[in-house]
Symmetry: C2
Subunit: 134 residues, 2 copies
C-alpha cells in the first residue's frame, strides 16, 4: 500500500507521524488484553524490535510504543533525554545548523519508521499469542 503513495507523501514528516499513530491505534484496537504479552520475549529475529538489542518483554514494548505515540499526538516537548545518550553533544552543537537540521530530521524519520514497523509486528505477535494468526 505504501508503495502506491507518491514519493513526496511518503517522506513527509507529518505523514510519517500520522502513519505511526495509525499503526499504534490499530495495535491498541487489536490488543484487548495487553497483559497476555507479559513475559513474552522478543524472540523472532525478523522482528525489528528484537533487533534493537533491548531486554523488554512484549508488554513493556507495547507500553513504550504507546508512550511515544502520546508524545507524537500531544505535541508536548519531551524531557531532554539527550544526556541518556553517550554522545559527545558538543560535536552536535558545533555543527552547521543546516547539517544539524538534516541530521535530526533524518533521524526522526528513521526511528518513527522503525517504531511503525514494530507496532505492526507487535500486533501480529499478539494475534499469534491468542491463536488468531492466519
Amino acid at each position: 500500500m505504501q508503495s502506491a503513495e507518491p514519493k513526496n507523501q511518503k517522506s513527509c514528516l507529518v505523514a510519517t507521524l500520522s502513519r505511526y499513530t495509525s499503526a499504534v491505534r490499530n495495535m491498541e484496537h487489536t490488543i484487548m488484553l495487553p497483559s497476555l504479552l507479559r513475559d513474552v520475549p522478543q524472540e523472532e529475529p525478523e522482528d525489528s524490535f528484537a533487533a534493537e538489542g533491548n531486554n523488554k518483554d512484549l508488554y513493556e514494548y507495547f507500553l513504550m510504543l504507546k508512550s511515544v505515540r502520546n508524545v507524537v499526538e500531544s505535541g508536548l516537548m519531551p524531557p531532554d533525554e539527550r544526556k541518556a545518550l553517550s554522545v559527545p553533544l558538543e560535536t552536535l552543537e558545533d555543527s552547521d545548523p543546516e547539517t544539524l537540521f538534516h541530521f535530526h530530521l533524518t533521524g526522526l524519520f528513521s526511528v518513527l519508521n522503525n517504531l511503525t514497523t514494530s507496532s505492526h509486528m507487535l500486533t501480529r505477535r499478539y494475534k499469534e499469542v491468542i491463536g488468531l494468526s492466519n
Copy 2:
C-alpha cells in the same frame, strides 16, 4: 507573543515547523534585494546565527535559511547528511528507540527554534543595511 500561546501549542512540532516557515516567508518578503547582504559579516554577538561559529556572510545565511525552509515545506527526505557529523553513530543506533525518538525530536525543536530566531535577526539586519531600521 509566544508567551500568550498555550504550552501545548508552543511545543507542538507542527506549530514549530509553521513558525519557522512563517519567519522565512516574512524574511523573504522584506529582503527584496538579497545581494545587498553579500559580504556583510555576522558581526553582532547577540545574533543567534553569529554564535553558531560558521563563516557564512549574511547572503549565504539567507540562502541556507531558505534551503531549510524548502525541506520543511516539501517534506522531502533530505539526503543522509549524518556522515557530515563526526558523531559515533553506532552509539545512537544502539540506543533505546524511545530515547532516540526523544533525542531527535528535542534536537529538531531546538534547531528549528534557533533558525526561526535567525530568520528574524536576518530580517532586522537587512533593514539596518538599507537604512530602514527603527
